[in-house]
Symmetry: C4
Subunit: 509 residues, 4 copies
Amino acid sequence: MKSPDFCWYTDTCITQTISEHASRDSCWIIVHGKVYDVTEFLDEHPGGSKIILKYAGNDATEAYEPIHPPNAIIDNLSSEKHLGDVDPSTVTKVVKVTSEAEKKRQALIAKRPPLDEILNLHDFENKAIAKVILPDTAWAYYSSASDDEITIRENRAAYQRVWFRPRILRDVTVVDWSTTILGQKSSLPVYISATALGKLGHPDGELNLTRAAGKHGVIQMVPTLASCSFDEILDAAQPDQPLFLQLYVNRDRSITKRYVQHAEARGVKGLFITVDAPQLGRREKDMRMKFVGDDAGAKVQENMSGVRKDEGVARAISSFIDPSLSWKDIPWFRGITKMPIILKGVSTPEDAILALEAGVQGIVLSNHGGRQLDTSRSGLENLIEIAAALKTRGPWPNPNFSVFVDGGVRRASDVLKALALGASAVGIGRGFLYAFCSYGEAGVEKAFKILGEEFEMNLRLLGARNLNELVPEMVDASALQAHVSTPKDNLFDSTYQPLRLAEIKAAKL
Amino acid sequence: MKSPDFCWYTDTCITQTISEHASRDSCWIIVHGKVYDVTEFLDEHPGGSKIILKYAGNDATEAYEPIHPPNAIIDNLSSEKHLGDVDPSTVTKVVKVTSEAEKKRQALIAKRPPLDEILNLHDFENKAIAKVILPDTAWAYYSSASDDEITIRENRAAYQRVWFRPRILRDVTVVDWSTTILGQKSSLPVYISATALGKLGHPDGELNLTRAAGKHGVIQMVPTLASCSFDEILDAAQPDQPLFLQLYVNRDRSITKRYVQHAEARGVKGLFITVDAPQLGRREKDMRMKFVGDDAGAKVQENMSGVRKDEGVARAISSFIDPSLSWKDIPWFRGITKMPIILKGVSTPEDAILALEAGVQGIVLSNHGGRQLDTSRSGLENLIEIAAALKTRGPWPNPNFSVFVDGGVRRASDVLKALALGASAVGIGRGFLYAFCSYGEAGVEKAFKILGEEFEMNLRLLGARNLNELVPEMVDASALQAHVSTPKDNLFDSTYQPLRLAEIKAAKL
Amino acid sequence: MKSPDFCWYTDTCITQTISEHASRDSCWIIVHGKVYDVTEFLDEHPGGSKIILKYAGNDATEAYEPIHPPNAIIDNLSSEKHLGDVDPSTVTKVVKVTSEAEKKRQALIAKRPPLDEILNLHDFENKAIAKVILPDTAWAYYSSASDDEITIRENRAAYQRVWFRPRILRDVTVVDWSTTILGQKSSLPVYISATALGKLGHPDGELNLTRAAGKHGVIQMVPTLASCSFDEILDAAQPDQPLFLQLYVNRDRSITKRYVQHAEARGVKGLFITVDAPQLGRREKDMRMKFVGDDAGAKVQENMSGVRKDEGVARAISSFIDPSLSWKDIPWFRGITKMPIILKGVSTPEDAILALEAGVQGIVLSNHGGRQLDTSRSGLENLIEIAAALKTRGPWPNPNFSVFVDGGVRRASDVLKALALGASAVGIGRGFLYAFCSYGEAGVEKAFKILGEEFEMNLRLLGARNLNELVPEMVDASALQAHVSTPKDNLFDSTYQPLRLAEIKAAKL
Amino acid sequence: MKSPDFCWYTDTCITQTISEHASRDSCWIIVHGKVYDVTEFLDEHPGGSKIILKYAGNDATEAYEPIHPPNAIIDNLSSEKHLGDVDPSTVTKVVKVTSEAEKKRQALIAKRPPLDEILNLHDFENKAIAKVILPDTAWAYYSSASDDEITIRENRAAYQRVWFRPRILRDVTVVDWSTTILGQKSSLPVYISATALGKLGHPDGELNLTRAAGKHGVIQMVPTLASCSFDEILDAAQPDQPLFLQLYVNRDRSITKRYVQHAEARGVKGLFITVDAPQLGRREKDMRMKFVGDDAGAKVQENMSGVRKDEGVARAISSFIDPSLSWKDIPWFRGITKMPIILKGVSTPEDAILALEAGVQGIVLSNHGGRQLDTSRSGLENLIEIAAALKTRGPWPNPNFSVFVDGGVRRASDVLKALALGASAVGIGRGFLYAFCSYGEAGVEKAFKILGEEFEMNLRLLGARNLNELVPEMVDASALQAHVSTPKDNLFDSTYQPLRLAEIKAAKL
C-alpha cells in the first residue's frame, strides 16, 4: 500500500470493519485501503455483479486496479457509500489463480525478441508482439477506434501523402533536433500524449513513461484516466522534470478546480483540456470483446445488463465528463490557473481562431487517435487550413500560440513533416504505450533512441541542421488534401459478396 | 385466412368447386381463397409448370405467398381466368416436407448471435448472419444489383469520401435528432425505404417494419411489390402512424388511380412515384441462381423457358410497370390525389429543376440501391450538383420541396453527411430489411436503437445540438466528386490472368 | 479441300509428286493442296524443325492450319520454293494421336455451362470457361498483351471511370439501338473488330463470326491474319452482308494492291488500315509459353533457335508488315480503291487532324487491344481530346469523318458511354472471339443477344430512345483523364518483398 | 593474388611475419597480402570478434573480400596498425566448409532458367531467381531501402503514371536509340549506375558489368564502394571504353584528391559526386537480417555490440563519408580535375539552379534507389519541376548541363518517358546488378539485348526514329504529380487488425 496519495475527487478518510458485509444483501469491498458499500451498485456495475461478489467483504484492490481509473469507484458511488479507511492487514486475501491463457501469455512474454531487434515504433505494436503479449482486453481497449476505424488509419495514411523535397550540399556534420515546448526544454520535438488505463498493459502503467521521460528529457502529458494516480506519477518524476496534464472536465467543477490547482502546485507546466470528447466514442472492437471467463480484466468487457449492455469500457469510465463544456468556460479556467492552457482536439480553422481569441496558449490538432468522430480528417491535413487561417491573425509560427498535432505518428520523418508545415511539436500516444506494454521502461527508452536516430538521419538527408531550418518548401503536401483513397471499409467488404462468373460444374481448375 | 383485403388491381369475387381440375388438361389453384384457372398459364410460369401442378386442384397459398407480390397472379392471368372465392376448409392441404437445407438453415437461425452482439447495421447483413440464415433465393434477390454492381458499392464508398469538420466547445448536453418529413413527425431523420418481397426473408414480411416503426415513431414507405398486401400493412399500423406509399405506375392507369386513392383514403401521407425503373434492371446474382430442387422459392429462380429463360425474378414480377411514364403524367397524378408527390430516382440537376417546375413536393436522389443503371453516380454525389442548381431557383433548403437521398447508408454519420449537404431526410432500405430477416420486428427496433445512439454521439462530437445546426461547413466533400477509385471490377479481374516471372522449375520456394 | 480460293499474295499453281522428299536433306510438304520445298527453311521455322520433319513428304495442312495465317508459308518462303499443286488423295495421312491433355480439354468442353447460363460477355472469356477449354497456346496468344499489360487493363478501367447521369420521365416504351456504320445498316452500334488466328480457338475460326453476323445484321471486320482465307470468309457471308477489311500493309505494295482491290471487288464496304503496328508488340505471356510436347499448336510457341528464340508467334507471323508506312502512302490508297478508308490505331488529336486533312473517312481510336505500346492511354480517354480538336475543324459529330473506339468493351453500357462522348460506333474484338471459341457460332449469337438486351435496358434507364438522344451530358467523364489508379504492376509486385516486423521466434500465432 | 592495384586510400607497403599473433591478446590478420593488427579493433568489428579470431595470424582475404569495400579495413584502422606486406604463401589457409544452405543454393543456381527464358529485367530480380540464388545477406543488402520503403516503390510507380501519346504513320523502318552521354558514345540512352559490394552476389563482382559494357558500348559508373578495386575494374575495361566514377567524398580530402586524380589519369570520363548521402540510410531489411551461422557473409549482418548493434552493414562501411560536404567544396573539385562533374542526388529545382550556377556539368535526379530519405519523390517526378526551372535559365535541354534520372527503371519505355520529359540519359543500377548476380556477364549482355529490343519496338510504336524525335508531347505526365496512391504501408498494415462482424458461434460457413 502506498503512502496516502492526493485524490482529485475526494479527501474523506474513515476506518471501519467489513467482514460481515460479504453478501448480495450487504456488500462492502476494500479498494486502496478504503471501504465502500457497493450493495446498490452491484446491478449497475459495467462488469457485472459476479466479479464484485467474489471480493465481497474483502480487499478487491488487485482486481480493481489494472482496469479502473483511480476515481472510478468514487465517482460512480454517492459519497455516503464511501465508508472510510481500513487496515488491509486485517482482511483475507483472495487467492488469484493463474489461468491457462495467462500462463501462455507469460510464456510468450518470455520469448519476446530482444530489444535490439526492435527497429521502429511499429515493432512494439505489431500483432506478433503486443497483440500476443497483451491481455485481450488491453489490446481491444488500446487498439480500438470508433465506428469503421477510418480515421485511425487515415491518420497514418495522411503522413504518407506528404513527400519530401530534400536539399543537398549543406554542412550537416552537426544536427540538433531538440526544442522547447511551451517554454520547457525537450530533447525531442515530440511529447508523450495521454493514453488511459496504462495498467491494463503493464503492472507499472504510466510510471514507465514518467521514468523514461525523466531520464531522456522528454515531456509526458499525464492523463486524467491514468491507472496510476496523479501523485504516484508526479512522485516518479525527477525534480524539475516538466510534465503536462491532460484534463477531462468534470461535471462537478469544484473537483476539476481542485485537480488543476493541485497539479499546478506540484509543478505541472501545461494544461491540455480535451475538447473533442463531450462523450466517449463507440469503439466496436472494444465492445465486441466477449465474456471470456470470470477474470475481472475480461469481465469489464462483458455485455452490460439492461440498456447499457453494449456500451463498452470507454463509456463506463467516462460518465463524469461534462458534455456542457463550452467556450464560456474558458475564462473560468484562466481564473483558476496560471499554467498555459491548450485546447486538445481542434479540427477547424474556425475553432483555431476562436481559441486564439479566447486567449489560450495553443491547440492540439487531434481527432483523439481516431477514437471519437470517425471519418474526421487527420490533424496533419487540418494543419494546412489552420496554418493559413492563423497567418491572417498574426505571426506564423506564433511564439505565443502553439499548434501541436497528434495521431498516426510512427516515424521521425512524420514529425518533421508536421514541423515543416508549422507545427510546434507532435504528440505520440500509442507508440509509447505499446513500447512500455511490451518492454516496460526500457521499451520507452528504446523508442526515444529510435526516434533520435531517425531525427539525426532525416535532418541530415533533408539538409536541415536544426528545426528552424525546416521550412514548408521541404515538403510537397499537395496530395494531402486530395484524399486519394479512403482506408478500406472492412465491414462493408465483409458483407459484400463479389460477383462470380459462369462455371464448369465438375471441373477442378 | 384474413378478412377480405382491398386489392388494388381487382375486386371481383366468385365462389366455385375445384377438386376435379387437378391435371395439366384443366388446372385450377386456390390462392388467398380465390380460384384461378391456370391451365394455359402453366407453360408461361416463370417458375415452371411442375411446381404449379403439385398444387393443382388445391390451395397453393403457402407456396405462392412468400415469393409473389400480391398482384402477380392477377396481373399475369386474364380476368376471365379469375374464377372467384372458395371456402378453403374444403380443400386438402398439401403436406410440406422440410428439406435438409431448410433444417440446417433453421439450426443456424437458432444459433444467431443475441441481439446484444449486434453493434451496427452491417452486422445484420453480414455473410455470417443474413447470408446463412436467408434462403439462397432471398439472399440473391435482396443482395443483387445490376451489371457489375459498381453502383451499389459506389453508394457506400461515396459516404466515406466525405469527411467531417467537427466543431468544439458547444454545450451538447442535450442533442435532438428528431425531425419532420413531409410534415410528419419522425423520431429519426431517416425513413424506411421500400424494398420488395419481404416474405422471402421472414414469414411476417413487411409487417415487421410497420410494427417497429409504429412503436418508435419512424415512417415506413410501403412498397408496391410488398409480399404483404397493402391493407395488411395498414392494418398493422398504429392509429395515426404516418406511412408513405411507393408506387410503380401500372400500364393500366385506372388500377393506379384506384390504388393511390385507396392509399390516400387509408391515411397515407406521401406518394413516392418511382421514376428510375421503366424496366427493372438485369441483376446477375439473382439470374445466376440455379435450380436447387422442387421448392417454389427456388423454382422461381430457375431458368425460364423460351426467350424469358434468363430474365430472373425481378423482370418476371414487374411486367406491369409502364415504360411510357413521362413528365406529361405528372398533372394527372396531381389530379387524383392531394398527397404530397415525390419523384423517387432523380439523378441530375436538370431533372430536379423539371420536378420543381412540375409542382411536385420533392425528389429522392436515388439509383434504386444500385439495382437499375449500373455506374450511375451515388445520390450523395448528385446532391452536390442538385443543391447548387436548386439554390438558383429559390430558398435552400426549400421548405416546399424536399430532397431525399437513399443508397449505401449504414451509419448515422452517413445520414448526417447528407443532411449537412442539404438533404431533408435519408432513406434506408436494405439495412432494415436485413434487420427483420435476421431478427424480425426486434431486429428493426434494434436498428432504430443503434441509429439513435449513433446520432446522439455524432451530433455531440460534431458540435451540433440539433439538425438545424448541421451546416455544409461541417463536412469536407471535396473528394466526393473526384471518384478517386472505382469499386473493383470482379468479373474482369476474374478473367484477367496476371503476368508471371520466369521460374526455377523444380524449386519449392 | 475447298474450291480454289483467292490468295492475296500469290496465284501460281503447279502439280508435282513429293513422296521422295521426306528428309532433312530434301524436305517437301503439302499445305492446302500446294507443295513447298522447306528444306532450307527448317532451321528458320519459329516452331522448330522437328514438327515439320514429322510431315516431310506429306500433307501438313491439318497441323498447319489452326496456327498459321493463310499467307505465312508463302511469305516466309521465296517463290521458287513454291512448287505447285498436288492431289492430296495421293499422300499418306499422318495419324494424329489425341494427347491426354487434349482428351481432358474435350471433356471440359463437354461440360461447358449451357448457353442459358452465360449472362454477359465476361462469362465467355472467364478462366472457368475459355481458359480451360482453349489450348494453352490459344489462350496465351489471345489473352496476351504487351509488356506489363497495363494498357489492356486500363482499357477496361477507363470505362468504369465514366459515370452515368441518367434522365427520367421520358416515354421509353420504344427504344432503338440500330445505327449505320460507314453508310451500312447495323443492328448494333458495334462492329466485330479484327482478331487474328481464329482457328487456334475453334475449328471454324472466323467463319463463326461471319455466319452469326449475317444472321443478325452485324458488321464483321475481316482480319488480314485470319486463319480462314479471305474468300472462305466472304463465301460464308449472306448476299449483301456488309463486311469491312482490316489491312496490314505489305512491304510489297503490289500484294497489298491486289488484296485491297480483290476485297472491293467482292463487295467489302470499308478498309481499316492498321497504323499502330509497324512492328508487332512483345507479348510476354505468349513468349512465356513453354514447349509442352510435340504438338504443332504448342510447338510454335517453343523458344525459337538463334536470335529469334524469344520473339513469340506474333513476331513470327508478322514479318511482312511494312514499318515504312507513312502519311505519304495515303494518296496511293485513295488511288487504288473507292472504299471508305479508316485509319485504325490513332491516339492523338494531332494525328486525328492529319487524318482529316488526308481525306480519309475516319479513324479508330485504338491501342490494338493493349497489344502494342504498353502504357498507351485508352481509346475512350483519347476520345475526349480528339473530339475537342475535331470540333475546331467542322461539325461534331462529323457525318463525313467517323470516329470509332475499341478496346476493353464488355457491356452495352460501355458502348453507350463512348457514343455519348461522340464515337460513331464501337469495335469489340476479344468479346466475340471468346464467344466463338467457347460456343462456336451460337456463342456469337448469344453475345449479340446479351448486348441487345443490355442496350434496351440501358437506353431506357438513361432516358434515351435512340442513339441520337445520347448526349455528352448523360455521362460524367471528369475522372476519365485523372488516371486515379494504374493497373497493378504484377511483375514488380512479384519481385518486391514486403517489409516484416520483429517476431516472437517460436510463437505460433 | 593479383598484381599490385592502386589503392586510393594508402600506398604504404611493409613486410613482416605474423604467425605468432593469433589470439585475442595480439591478433594480426592478412588481407590482400597486407598485415593488419586488429587486436584493438576486435570489439569494434561490426561483424563481431569471433569471425576475425577464426583467421587470427592467418590470411582472411577470402572471407574479407566479398563483403567489404576495398578500403574498409584501412579506413577503420589507424595507420599505425597497417603493418605492411606479407608473402601469402607462408601462411596456412583456413579450410572453408560448404554449409547445407550453401549447397542448396548451389543446386538452385544449377536449375536457373536458361537465359532464353528471361524476357525482361524483372525476371533477373524476381523472388524465384535472384532471391533464392543470392545469399540472404546479399539479397537483404541489395533489395533493402530506407524506412518503410515507400520511395523505392514510388520510383517504379511514377513511371506508370506517365502515359504515352504515340504518333502514327511515320516511316520507322530505321530507328536508332544510340546517344552520347557527357560527350561519350553510348549504344543505349542508359548508363550502368553505381551499386556497392558486387561480390556479395557474384564472385566476379563489378567486373561482370565492365566486361559486358565494353563489348556493347555501354558506359559503367564505377562505385566507390565496389567489391573490386578501382584498378581491377579499369584493367577489365577495353581500351578507350568510357567509364564514369561515382564518388563518396572522404572526410580526408587528400584521399579524395588522390582517388579522383588517379581516376582521371586512368581515363575516366566523368565524376559523379554523391550528394544525397551525408549519412547512409537506415535500411531495415538489411538490419533485420539475423545471425545465421559462423559465416562471414552472414556475420557482418549480426547485431553489433554496444550502441552500434542495430546499424547494419550500410552504416558500418560508410563511416568515412564526409557529412560536411557543401556547395563551398565545389570549386575545390573543379580545381583538382578536368573531368565533367555531375552532382548525383538532386531533388529540387532550387538545388538544380545552384548546381548550374556552381558551374558543374550536370545533375542526377536520384533518391539513391530509395535507400536514403524515405518518402522522397521520384526523380522522374522531380524532373517536371526541375525542367521548368532550368528553362528559365537557358536552353532546354541544355547541351552544357546534363540532367540524368535514375531509380525504378525496368523497361525501355520508362527510359523513353524520362527522355521525352527532357532527361539526357537514365541510370539503371539494380537491374544490371541482379542480371550479373543471376547470370554473370552473360546476364548483363542479355539485359542490354532486352533493352535494345524494347527500344526498337517502342520507338517504332511511338513514331520516333531517334531520340531527338522524342518530345514532351509524346507523354501525358498529368498524373505524375498527383500521387494518386502511395505504396502500401506494410508495417502499419501488419499491425492494424481489421474490424470483424458479429458471428454465429458454431457455424462452419
